[in-house]
């Protein structure tokens, strides 16, 4: 069930993250706000240790979770953005062919001897994220983010998991690289296809819900410290109201941050109809959505009809 090198988390990690509450507080310190659900999920991913698959609407902070975790552990984050047709050469390693050719030419010109072993030495190796994460020397494991794994082919998915389960890479010309600190693996998916059963079986799973207005406001305040006090919550409520409409591209947390930044630059202290009319473009990025929101009016958006 667990790989050879995975007898639980290392002492150093154990001290940094003794329990869920400590992880939640630590993530808070690096300005990433989590609810107990996500904190539990990340905690188990680190401590079991076990890869974790994160899913959720676009813009709920899936990628950000991996970055924040890397900051908490003070380790590097290796990110592999998956796309259709990605292969081992782009994910694991590749020989630097142009450089090898150049090396051969140079040796010829200088009339020097060039052994094959030199040509396949570490300096000619291009390390891609998977190899970097496995080679990572510590003291704590690196965080490996496989972003949008559903975009890669099913074969690539299987290959990756085989590799991570063994936590070792064999490069024929160099030998086997065994991970001393197997990476903490975080996967994200946008559900464009069903992931393979073998993958889901090996992973923990967490669905990130869209946060409540208060939490969005809190996130916005962290990101835009110069914003006026009430405006973050007002903007967050307005965004939540917008999301209740049937939109093509519902605004997310990123839009809330952009919006409040824009309002702050414009010197707006309180959200009103005029301010909204000036800044539609920061929250709605689709013509149909724009029409839909305009039909309800800026007054509805700022919650004016009660006042």
């Amino acid at each position: 069930m667990t790989g050879p090198a995975r007898g639980g988390a290392e002492d150093d990690v154990l001290q940094r993250i003794p329990d869920v509450a400590a992880l939640q507080a630590a993530l808070d310190d690096v300005d990433y706000l989590v609810d107990p659900g996500l904190a539990t999920a990340l905690f188990l991913a680190v401590r079991l240790p076990q890869p974790i698959l994160l899913e959720g609407e676009p813009g709920v902070g899936k990628t950000e979770a991996a970055k924040a975790l890397a900051r908490v552990l003070d380790t590097p984050l290796y990110r592999l953005q998956c796309y259709e047709g990605i292969d081992a050469g782009e994910a694991l390693y590749e020989w630097n062919y142009p450089r090898q050719l150049l090396g051969i030419r140079l040796a010829e010109v200088r009339d020097a001897r060039l052994d094959e072993t030199e040509l396949f030495g570490p300096e000619y190796l291009l390390r891609r994220p998977l190899l970097k994460a496995i080679e990572h020397t510590g003291p704590r494991p690196a965080v490996l983010l496989l972003d949008e794994i559903d975009r890669a082919d099913a074969e690539f998915e299987a290959f990756t998991f085989e590799l991570l389960a063994e936590a070792a890479v064999t490069i024929p010309e160099l030998g086997t690289v065994q991970a001393t600190h197997p990476p903490i693996v975080i996967l994200t998916s946008n559900r464009t296809r069903d992931l393979h059963d073998a993958l889901t079986r090996r992973c923990l799973y967490h669905w990130i819900d869209y946060p409540a207005p208060e939490r969005i406001a809190e996130i916005v305040r962290r990101r835009v410290p110069s914003s006026a006090e009430p405006i973050a919550l007002q903007a967050a409520s307005a965004i939540t109201r917008l999301r209740s409409l049937d939109m093509d591209k519902p605004p997310g947390i990123a839009e809330a941050i952009d919006w409040v930044s824009a309002l702050t630059i414009l010197g707006v202290e309180r959200l009103d109809v005029r301010a909204v009319d000036q800044t539609w473009g920061t929250i709605l990025k689709n013509r149909d959505d724009h029409d839909l929101a305009l039909a309800r009016g800026a007054g509805w958006l700022v919650g004016d009809e009660h006042g």
């Binding site: 069930m1 539990t40 062919y97 889901t200 079986r201 992973c203 049937d246």
Partner: protein, 417 residues
């Protein structure tokens, strides 16, 4: 595991027992929980002692759930087991839990036989011979899908709705063998090519040079590979389509297995059936599909179903650049303008939309049904697919490339395409 945590909320239950009991309860409710998950849960509960409901909830959810669709079942079982302060061991006799998926084979009711079984073939649609649809697509006609000669040729022109019960089984077998092919597009992967005009592939060139000791370097060129576009089938399974869906489902199953298509069915709501239909055993696949979608032969909410497809699947990438085939008669409960709106969204994502409407074959057919009329301007091809022979048209429409001029001038007048 030996130390179950001194401050457990439930006093005498040890972590392993709790984990196994709860996983069993979930499995009984149809959630696929592999046995090693229970062990993993016990391990997780050692790290996060279940002092409070929240801790227990999140721990078990993160470990045991593997997809979002499982969350409602998980929540219900969790509430039943723990909120009722039930000992998980007792829940093994829970009779109110839904039956396990695939455990009970439900067969769909089929339509009443409205035709004497000895009726002769009644080809209402005689003009469609496999080679005669050259305007539909530029694909080579020798790839005609009806290449297999069948002793049941008399069935080829019979409308699916008029098949007798025993003929349906035969037809399903035939239809399952149809191989649908979509147009190709450029992939990111490359392959070797002799053409000098292509890109020089350094990686392959150097690899080849190794073989010859690095001396005589032969340049190797590569070009982008082509790949078939994704095929997405949306099949209407409402009551009005019932006579046809018994055969169309086999078409869906055949293309999921043979062409890697994505299959969805809808009547009042949309259900993804790709996973269920991906089994090679057709009977098992159909049984799994029947138990996965709950609203067979209900009403049709066409606009709502397309909307839910676009929102939950299409926009995420499933429909982008894909050939989308809608099998429906266009009889819908929702307002035509809503159907038009959703079709517009779909057409912005898809490469081509093929609409298969078995009612089109009627002599006096006019696409006047509200939903159909609204959807038609967004369809690239409109075909009947009512009989085995008519499925040739469907295959040709799926294989067709989009015309190179970008303007899509469409409307009810080119319904004959």
């Amino acid at each position: 595991m030996a130390d179950p945590g001194s401050a457990l909320a439930v006093p005498t239950v040890d972590a392993a027992g709790l984990a196994v009991g709860f996983s069993t309860a979930l499995r009984r409710s149809g959630l696929p929980v592999p046995p090693d998950r229970a062990a993993r849960l016990a391990e997780a509960m050692r790290l996060i002692p279940p002092h409070a409901r929240d801790a227990l909830y999140w721990t078990s959810r993160v470990v045991l759930v593997s997809r979002r669709e499982q969350l409602p079942v998980f929540d219900a079982v969790f509430a039943a087991v723990f909120d009722g302060m039930l000992d998980p061991a007792d829940s093994r006799g829970d009779t109110s839990a839904p039956p396990p998926i695939g455990g009970e084979i439900r067969t769909r009711p089929t339509a009443k036989d409205e035709r004497p079984s000895n009726a002769a073939a009644s080809p209402q649609h005689p003009t469609m011979s496999p080679g005669g649809d050259s305007e539909g697509g530029a694909g080579p006609e020798r790839e005609a899908i009806l290449a297999m000669a069948s002793p049941e040729e008399h069935l080829h022109d019979v409308a699916f709705a008029e098949l007798a019960a025993d003929e349906v089984a035969e037809m399903r077998r035939l239809v399952r063998k149809i191989v649908l092919a979509t147009p190709t597009r450029k992939s990111r992967r490359t392959q070797r090519t002799p053409h000098r005009s292509a890109r020089l592939d350094l990686r392959r060139t150097v690899r080849a040079a190794h073989r010859t000791g690095g001396d005589s370097i032969r340049l190797i060129y590569s070009q982008r590979r082509t790949r078939s576009r994704r095929l997405v089938l949306l099949c209407d399974v409402s009551a009005s389509m019932e006579p046809y869906t018994r055969v169309f489902l086999s078409l869906l199953q055949g293309s999921v297995v043979g062409a890697g298509a994505e299959a969805f069915v809808f009547s009042t709501r949309l259900t993804r059936l790709t996973r269920q239909l991906a089994t090679r055993n057709p009977d098992q696949a159909l049984a799994r599909a029947a138990s996965a979608a709950s609203d067979w032969a209900g009403g049709t909410r066409l606009a709502e179903s397309i909307r839910s497809f676009v929102d939950d699947h299409g926009r995420r990438g499933l429909a982008r650049g894909a050939v989308v085939v809608v099998l429906s008669d266009g009889w819908a409960h929702d307002a035509p303008e809503l159907v038009g709106e959703q079709m517009a969204r779909l057409s912005r994502l898809a490469y081509r939309i093929v609409w298969v409407n078995p009612r089109k074959v009627a002599v006096d057919y006019q696409p006047l049904v509200g939903g159909m009329a609204a959807a038609l301007p967004y369809c690239d091809a409109f075909v009947s697919g009512h009989s085995y022979r008519a499925l040739t048209e469907v295959a040709a429409a799926i294989r067709a490339n989009r015309p190179s001029h970008p303007e899509r001038q469409r409307g009810p007048d080119n319904a004959t395409r």
